[in-house]
Subunit: 329 residues, 4 copies
């Protein structure tokens, strides 16, 4: 294992795009990397009276830490990002509604002539000992403890073809994937488009429901440890993810059926490649075994995941076993 | 409990529409009902050489058993259908591709000028003792045992406003919902549109992945026991479902985001109604807790489910506790 | 030419479904048929204070006149419906917003938690001499005269496979197509699904913009003259339309891209069939010549039209020249 | 009028993104600007045997000329781009199918497991005297002359928030709008995001059908004359367009209904602003008068146009009459 790398929590480390920025540090495959991510509001929402539309400067939301230059990563390779640990760096998490953002409101895309929903902020108490986040209603006394389930909403690399995208956008370069599957123990696979990959990450969630339906998870600054590796000469199209139990393909697109199609198509092709099944035989196997969950249904592109249990693919190993290697340190 | 009712497996009991048919039997709330459903091919596909497009008469697929007149059900009530048990009535299940049907092919709606995929049939061995279904590739020796997970693909009542819909269509009257959540132990809630509700059910699956992506699950004739109840004066809009652990709202629509929106909107309103939360507080709670899975993404309307764990709604009981009553016989 | 047929304006002639009703009269190919259609509100909205949600009984809107049994029409044939003339039967037309209906509002499908738009009614003065309809704002003095451009919103036949659909739904059987192209001089082609076809029509519009974006055109009772013909042994899939200048294919579906795809795919195949071009050559020709306009973007299924000028298809005649024959009486 | 500016046809003037590039020249409002645009293939397809997938380097298609720094343009202003003239710079135009690109094929977004369509190239003869382009089938002798109708497919400025987008993408910054409305005599309005706006343009079409359904118009290098102006302190959201007869709003999004909604919502708000109508009165007027046509239904975002005849808005002038001023030179 290489020496650990610590990225200090310096203002210069944050950005609002994938692509278009210089690396803030170089990192080696195999070396644990520790860093702190800001919450999606950049830490500006601290009470229920801090309305995001007033305290934040749009569209500069969702800051990411990075980019990090990964030694040896070249276009055509795959970058594996293994999440070792995620620890909320605050005793409270924040959620909110935004005017014209979310799945159950008209938006800048799905435009209507109706008045926007009320903008409202919720604070959640985070209890690391109990591993809970406490929901408290704003208009009644209702309270309930939910399990802490930390995850990273946004992990990505520089896009291809010189594009620069806001961090709010998920696409083939990763970005704002917002899937609850991206928690401790998971390995994310991203295709590399530029030398050094230029990895950046942020948007920690203390927990999130599928679809992130109001548009905002339980947002929190996060102490993050990841370790990366480079799979040379193996390209990855749409982002993939691996846990101890599952192989997952992620699709980012609008409309939602296209996000679904991309995730399922990619899983079929991945399964075919791993097992030697022909495409239709793989299509059949996936059809009877896949779990298909919404990631976000609120961002400029939506995300669907397609997951298959590895036990249904006996004798196969994805990406040369990198997940197991990174998992076991 | 009322006396059990057995519907004999008589050819006259099957139909291809919801609405437009006379009841084949009357049933009482609380009485166990046993019946056999046909597979979606009407039993006509028996070997891998029986191509559905050749042995079936389109569009007469997906036969349902019924309709059953439920005593006391009137428009404005809710019909609760509790699935007591599902046992495959055959030692094999069948799946297939269809030309221009499925999620990873162009279809009659998503039309392209490309050639259709090959039509191919798969037979699965069903082992009731081991509780497995065995997948066997058609173009290689790959074989794997998958857990038996029986469910009903199609359960519905007569639509409102005199409409008659093919059984392939899911909508507010139920129909071809194709969600793996509708297995033994689940209670489905459907709004009643006509006197007697006119319940019909079919399309048993030995198992199915989320999305039913190739268009066809592991289809099998099924021995079914259900018990029904009527919640008087309580309407239900889009179908809902309850298990011991979860409350679920189902949305059926195209595009997929609308199926998602319907399911989430309904769950938010249901949670608000149960807990007394205002709509935005309920929206927030659902946002952090919901599981959002694809039902089917292949039928004339798609289905998404939105599920919340009941433990996050302490002290609440849905539909007056009918699920617990029916569950406990 | 056969003797003219007049359908008297009797309450029993109106219905709210395609399919599920007995023919009210038999008609012969070639005979002019005169009848009156009701407006989509069934005549119940007469002043700007008659809010549709209060004076109408939902979902019983959009009454159609019929069905008419067309002599000689059999499944597998095509019914040609030529619109000879359309004359508003009232001195005023009506439009309105509906709560949760229209393209710039959340709806029962595209659900949000927002408040509905105000329900408001507009009355238009119809001047047959000037051939104008006068728009008058409700909240200011703004007034403007628009050209009278009468059309039928809803024309259809009984669906296949015993389905019964509300008249609000457009699909392969026709129905609520809501295209401004369906005015005097146009011939609509519909596939026949049942003996006699069971033609019904209604929903006259004094004029309508593409997309019918608020959900309601300038609705008016209409004196209608049509003449029908049967093209034996020639099936029609999705509805087609012909004018003196253009061949048009209509696609009805959600999402809107599928309505677009259906209309374009059908036009490509129609052009290939008429010209002998192979599919890709026809695809190319259509790509450079088609006009693609929204029909409605508000109903349970949306409609797009794909039109090509006949002058780009020299030497071809559609459906054996039936349009020209009916056009010339 | 300022002195004319000529941009020489130098290789350095072309780029493949909006944003991310330095201005190649400064231009003054009011001065005619002449330049040559390359066709979307960069001139590399010259015969029917030059398959784009072989002779072009993906994704480097759709080169634009520019960017041009417009004096005085600042964020928050609107840039008006008036098209004075467009003259094809070649005696032939080119179209093609691409594998997995176009509306009637599966694509990288709408993925299927089917084989791609054949890649095929068509050459059109351009006759400037006759003002025609000649279609010639590849698999038969069919030939037909179509009217020459030159337009620019791609006109845009640098995006906001430091984003850099490929030229293939249409969005609020303009880009690959692909609407046949953008021909000689039209004025395009774009919101300015950066000092100097950084205007670029390209992708000339000798003609194009609505929707650009096969994905490729009749592509041709173009001699272009435009003149620009800056409307100070007047922002523009989604692109708008004005001709002598019509005001048009353009919406770019997926799915197609969102492109439709954006275009209609913007037209409603524009009409309300010009006439003083309240939003619902403007919604009503637009509903009865709008023409809604597909721009492209093939790019990463689709485009719909919403057009209203200016004669229905008596006494109003858009953007202070800049169209009339630029039109009259």
């Amino acid at each position: 294992m290489s020496d650990p790398i610590h990225i200090p929590a310096d203002p210069g480390q944050y950005g609002y795009t994938f692509g278009g920025r210089e690396a803030i540090a170089a990192v080696k495959p195999g070396a644990p990397i520790t860093l702190r991510t800001l919450d999606c509001f950049g830490g500006k929402v601290r009470t229920v009276d801090d309305l995001p539309s007033q305290v934040c400067e749009f569209p500069y939301l969702n800051p990411v830490t990075g980019p990090l230059h990964v030694e040896g990563a070249e276009p055509g390779d795959t970058l594996a990002v293994h999440v070792v640990s995620l620890t909320p760096a605050s005793s409270f998490g924040i959620s909110s509604t935004f005017p014209h953002f979310g799945a159950l409101t008209s938006t800048g895309y799905t435009r209507t002539l109706q008045e926007p929903l009320e903008e409202r902020v919720w604070l959640y108490d985070i209890d690391l000992d109990a591993q809970t986040v406490r929901y408290r209603a704003r208009r009644s006394d209702f309270t309930v403890d939910l399990p802490l389930a930390p995850m990273l909403g946004t992990v990505g690399v520089a896009p291809a073809a010189n594009e620069v995208r806001q961090t709010i956008v998920p696409d083939v370069h990763g970005g704002n994937l917002d899937t609850p599957l991206l928690g401790p123990g998971a390995t994310l696979y991203l295709g590399v488009n530029v030398p050094g990959a230029l990895l950046a990450l942020g948007d920690g969630h203390a927990r999130q429901g599928d679809g992130e339906v109001c548009g905002v998870a339980v947002e929190v600054a996060m102490d993050v440890t990841v370790v990366v590796d480079v799979i040379k000469g193996v390209p990855t199209g749409t982002p993939r993810l691996e846990t101890d139990d599952q192989l997952v393909s992620l699709g980012a697109a609008r409309p939602l059926e296209d996000a679904f199609r991309i995730s399922q198509d990619d899983l079929v092709r991945h399964v075919a490649s791993l097992t030697g099944l022909d495409l239709l035989d793989a299509y059949q196997l996936v059809s009877q075994t896949t779990s298909a969950r919404a990631g976000n249904v609120v961002d400029p592109q939506y995300v669907m995941s397609a997951a298959i249990d590895k036990r249904y693919l006996p004798g196969t190993v994805a990406y040369g076993g990198v997940h197991e290697r990174l998992r076991n340190g």
